[in-house]
C-alpha cells in the first residue's frame, strides 16, 4: 500500500510539471494553430535563470520573477519573429523548424556560458519530506500539481471574465471572425505566447529544487508535455491538465510494477492506443468546418 501511495504522489508531482508545460502548448495552439517547439528550453530558463540571478546575490523571489519575465519576453519575441512570419498560410510548417532551431541555439549558448553541470536551487520546502501512509514526498513536489490546477482555474476565470480573455477565446474559436469583429488577433496571439513562456518558466522554477537546474533539462520535459497535450486534445486546457497528472501517475506505476526501462515504451504505447481510439484527443472539442 505504501508503495502505491508513493507512486501516486510522485506521479502527481511529475504530472504537475507536464501539466504546466502542456498548458502552455494548449494556449499557443489554440490561438495560432502553431506552438513554440522550444517550450522545454523556456522551461529551463525558469530554473537556470533563477539560479543565475540568485548567484548574483538577488533574493530568490526577485530572481524567480526576473527569470519568468525573461521567459515571458522570449515567448513574445519567438511568436513575433520566429512563428508569425512562418505561419501565414493554412498549412505552414516553417515555424517548426525555426522554433526547434532557436531551441538548439538557446541550449548551446547557455551551456557555453553557464556550463552543463546541474546547479542547486535551495528551497525550505525540500528540507524534510512529509510522511503519508508509508510514503514520503517533499512539500515542494506537492506544490507542482497544486499550482497546475490553480493556474488552470485562474486561466478559466481570466478567459471568461476579462475583455482580453474573451478576445483570446474568440481568436481560438475563429480567428477570421474575431478579426472581423475588430479584435487584433496578432496582438492577442503575441500575449498568449508571452503568458505561455511565463508559465513554462514558472514550472522550471518550481521544479528546480526537486530535480536541480541544468541547461539540458528541457528537451525531455518539453517532448512529453507536447505529447500529453496531443493525447488530451490540445485545445482543451482542463483536459490537458487532467491527462498530464494521470500520465505522470501512470508512468510511476509502470516503473513500480513493470520496470523502469519499460516506462517510456509502455507509456508511449498507451498514448498511441489512446490516439487510435480518440484521434482528436480524449477531451477534444469537436471542430466543424463549413465548406
Amino acid at each position: 500500500m505504501g508503495a502505491s501511495i508513493q507512486y501516486f504522489l510522485s506521479g502527481l508531482s511529475i504530472g504537475g510539471v507536464y501539466a504546466l508545460l502542456a498548458l502552455g502548448f494548449s494556449m499557443m495552439w489554440s490561438v495560432a494553430r502553431a506552438a513554440n517547439f522550444n517550450h522545454g528550453d523556456i522551461f529551463m530558463v525558469g530554473g537556470m535563470g533563477t539560479v543565475v540571478f540568485l548567484g548574483l546575490g538577488l533574493p530568490v523571489w526577485v530572481s524567480a520573477v526576473l527569470a519568468i519575465l525573461i521567459a515571458t519576453i522570449a515567448g513574445a519575441l519567438i511568436e513575433r519573429f520566429l512563428i508569425r512570419p512562418f505561419n501565414r498560410e493554412p498549412n505552414s510548417v516553417g515555424w517548426m523548424l525555426t522554433t526547434v532551431a532557436i531551441g538548439v541555439m538557446i541550449v548551446g549558448a547557455s551551456t557555453a556560458l553557464l556550463g552543463s553541470a546541474a546547479r542547486p536551487l535551495p528551497s525550505p520546502l525540500m528540507d524534510e519530506p512529509l510522511r503519508i501512509g508509508g510514503a514520503g514526498i517533499f512539500p515542494q513536489e506537492l506544490l507542482l500539481p497544486a499550482v497546475a490546477v490553480l493556474t488552470t482555474l485562474a486561466l478559466y476565470l481570466f478567459q471568461s471574465r476579462t475583455h482580453l480573455g474573451r478576445a483570446i477565446r474568440a481568436v481560438a474559436a475563429n480567428r477570421t471572425a474575431a478579426e472581423l469583429m475588430g479584435i487584433d488577433a496578432d496582438r492577442v496571439t503575441l500575449y498568449v505566447f508571452a503568458v505561455a513562456g511565463g508559465l513554462g518558466a514558472l514550472a522550471g522554477f518550481l521544479v528546480a529544487p526537486v530535480i536541480q537546474a541544468s541547461t539540458t533539462i528541457g528537451l525531455a520535459f518539453g517532448l512529453k508535455a507536447f505529447m500529453v497535450a496531443i493525447i488530451a486534445g490540445i485545445t482543451n486546457p482542463a483536459g490537458v491538465v487532467i491527462v498530464a497528472l494521470v500520465f505522470g501517475v501512470v508512468e510511476r506505476f509502470i516503473e513500480g510494477y513493470f520496470s523502469t526501462s519499460a516506462r517510456d515504451a509502455v507509456g508511449f504505447s498507451i498514448m498511441i492506443l489512446v490516439l487510435l481510439a480518440f484521434p482528436q484527443g480524449i477531451f477534444a472539442r469537436k471542430e466543424v468546418a463549413k465548406v
Binding site: 508503495a3 508513493q6 507512486y7 510522485s10 511529475i14 548551446g108 551551456t111 557555453a112 556550463g115 552543463s116 553541470a117 546541474a118 546547479r119 542547486p120 525540500m126 519530506p129 510522511r131 510514503a135 514520503g136 514526498i137 517533499f138 526537486v210 530535480i211 536541480q212 541544468s214 539540458t216 533539462i217 525531455a220 510511476r252 516503473e255 513500480g256 520496470s259 523502469t260 526501462s261 516506462r263 517510456d264
Partner: protein, 403 residues
C-alpha cells in the same frame, strides 16, 4: 595494327603504373611522416557532459603551460588543438580524422565517453595515430577484438578492474552480504554490467537486485522500493551527478539509506546539488585535490586556480581523478616525444613503453608496456567518500571505522 595495339597497351600500362605509384605515395600512413608538435583533443565541450571536458582541459592546459614554460619539447612549443564532440561518437571520429590528417598532430588525448573512444579504434589504427584516454573506462577501448591494439593507451580506470574493486568495497559495507547493483541504461552502464556480475560471482556473492535508470531520470523511488524489499544494504552504482542527486532525494523520501558505492561517474558537483544528502556516498577514483597535498600536487592546484578564475579551490574541480590523469598524460607525452627524439608517431608510440614520470597519481615506471596499455593498475584505485562538501579518502574520513 598489332604494334599499335601493343603501344597503346604499354602506354595504358605506364599510366596505370604512374597512377598506382601516386596512390601508393599518398597512401603512406601519416604515422610514417613527420607530425606537428601538437596534441589533438576531442572532448565533450558542449551538451550534458561539457563539465567533464572542462575538467580534462584543466589538467592538460596546466601541464602544457609548465612544459612550454620550460622551453617546450625538442625545442618546439607543444600546441593543443581542441575539438568539441558533444559526447557523440560520430563527431569524435570526424575530429580524430581532422587531428590525424589535417592538423597532423603527433598524438591525441581522449574525452570522457567510452562510446566515443570505441568509435575511434578503426580510424586511429588506419592513421597510425597514438591516443591516450583519461576517463573513458570501457574495457573495449583498449581490448580490440581480432587484432592487437597498437595505438590506444589509457591513464585512467578500467571497468574490468573497477567492478571487483566496487564489489569488494560494497561487501565490506554489508554485514549480511546484501549487495545490489544499479546502473544507468547507457553504453557505459550496460557495458559494465557483465563485469559487475562476474565480480559478484567470483566473490561468491548473489546480488539481491539489479536496477537500471535512464539518463535524465528524476525519481528513483520505484527502484529503491524494490531494493529495500530485497534488503539491500549497499549498492554498487554506475551513474552521473544529476541522476545520483535524484537517487539521494528518493532515498530521503523513502527514509531508506543503503550505502552507495559508486564508479567514477559522480564528481564534486554532487556536494553542491545534494548538500548533506551526499554525505557517506563512496566513489572510487585515483586522486583527490582535497586534504594535505604533496608540493607537486599543491603547485598544480595553484596553477589551475591562477589560470582559471572560476576555480577557487578543490570544490570547483568536479572530477579530480580526471584532471590528474589529464595532467599526467600530457607530461608522459612530452617526455615520450623527448625520448623518441622526433615528432614521429611510431617512435612516440614505442617511447611510451619506456617513458618514466613521477605524476600526480603514481610513479610511472614505465607508464605502459606492449602487453599492457593501461597505465593504472587495480592496486592504484582508491575509495573516496563525500563528507561536508568534500570528497576525501575514506581512510581520512569519519567513515573510516565503517570501511
Amino acid at each position: 595494327m598489332r604494334t599499335g595495339f601493343l603501344r597503346k597497351l604499354a602506354l595504358r600500362g605506364s599510366l596505370a603504373s604512374a597512377v598506382l605509384a601516386a596512390i601508393s605515395v599518398t597512401a603512406i600512413p601519416a604515422a610514417a611522416q613527420q607530425a606537428q608538435p601538437c596534441i589533438g583533443a576531442s572532448w565533450e565541450l558542449t551538451g550534458a557532459l561539457a563539465h567533464l571536458g572542462r575538467q580534462i582541459r584543466y589538467g592538460v592546459e596546466t601541464a602544457l603551460a609548465e612544459i612550454n614554460g620550460a622551453g617546450g619539447v625538442l625545442g618546439q612549443q607543444l600546441r593543443l588543438r581542441v575539438y568539441d564532440d558533444g559526447g557523440e561518437p560520430p563527431r569524435a571520429v570526424d575530429n580524430a580524422m581532422r587531428i590525424g590528417e589535417q592538423d597532423n598532430c603527433i598524438v591525441m588525448i581522449g574525452g570522457a565517453r567510452t562510446p566515443s573512444a570505441i568509435a575511434l579504434r578503426q580510424p586511429l589504427h588506419d592513421m597510425g595515430l597514438p591516443w591516450i584516454g583519461v576517463v573513458s573506462a570501457g574495457v573495449r577501448v583498449l581490448d580490440h577484438e581480432g587484432r592487437a591494439n597498437k595505438w590506444m593507451f589509457r591513464v585512467g580506470l578500467n571497468d574490468g578492474l573497477v567492478a571487483p574493486f566496487l564489489i569488494d568495497n560494497a561487501l565490506k559495507l554489508s554485514p549480511a552480504r546484501k549487495v545490489a547493483f544499479m546502473h544507468e541504461a547507457s553504453a557505459w552502464g550496460q557495458g559494465a554490467a557483465p563485469f559487475v556480475q562476474n565480480a559478484a560471482k567470483n566473490a561468491n556473492l548473489t546480488l539481491v537486485g539489479t536496477e537500471t535508470f535512464n539518463v535524465g531520470d528524476t525519481d528513483m523511488t520505484a527502484q529503491l522500493i524494490r531494493l529495500r524489499t530485497a534488503g539491500a544494504e549497499s549498492i554498487v552504482y554506475y551513474g552521473l551527478d544529476a541522476e545520483t542527486d535524484a537517487l539521494l532525494r528518493s532515498m530521503e523520501r523513502l527514509n531508506y539509506r543503503p550505502t552507495i558505492v559508486s564508479a567514477l561517474g559522480i564528481g564534486a558537483q554532487l556536494s553542491s546539488t545534494a548538500g548533506p544528502l551526499a554525505n557517506g556516498v563512496r566513489v572510487m577514483g585515483t586522486f583527490s585535490f582535497w586534504g594535505k597535498l604533496d608540493p607537486n600536487a599543491q603547485r598544480v592546484l595553484n596553477t589551475i586556480m591562477a589560470n582559471n578564475r572560476e576555480v577557487t579551490g578543490p570544490k570547483d574541480l568536479l572530477l579530480h581523478s580526471g584532471t590528474a590523469s589529464a595532467y599526467d598524460v600530457t607530461n608522459i607525452i612530452a617526455r615520450a616525444i623527448t625520448l623518441a627524439g622526433s615528432f614521429d608517431r611510431t617512435k612516440l608510440r614505442d617511447a611510451l613503453y619506456k617513458v618514466q614520470f613521477r605524476g600526480l597519481i603514481t610513479d610511472y615506471n614505465p607508464a605502459f608496456s606492449p602487453q599492457n596499455h593501461d597505465a593504472l593498475r587495480a592496486e592504484m584505485y582508491r575509495m573516496f567518500v563525500f563528507h561536508d562538501g568534500m570528497v576525501i579518502p575514506v581512510e581520512d574520513s569519519p567513515y573510516a571505522a565503517k570501511k
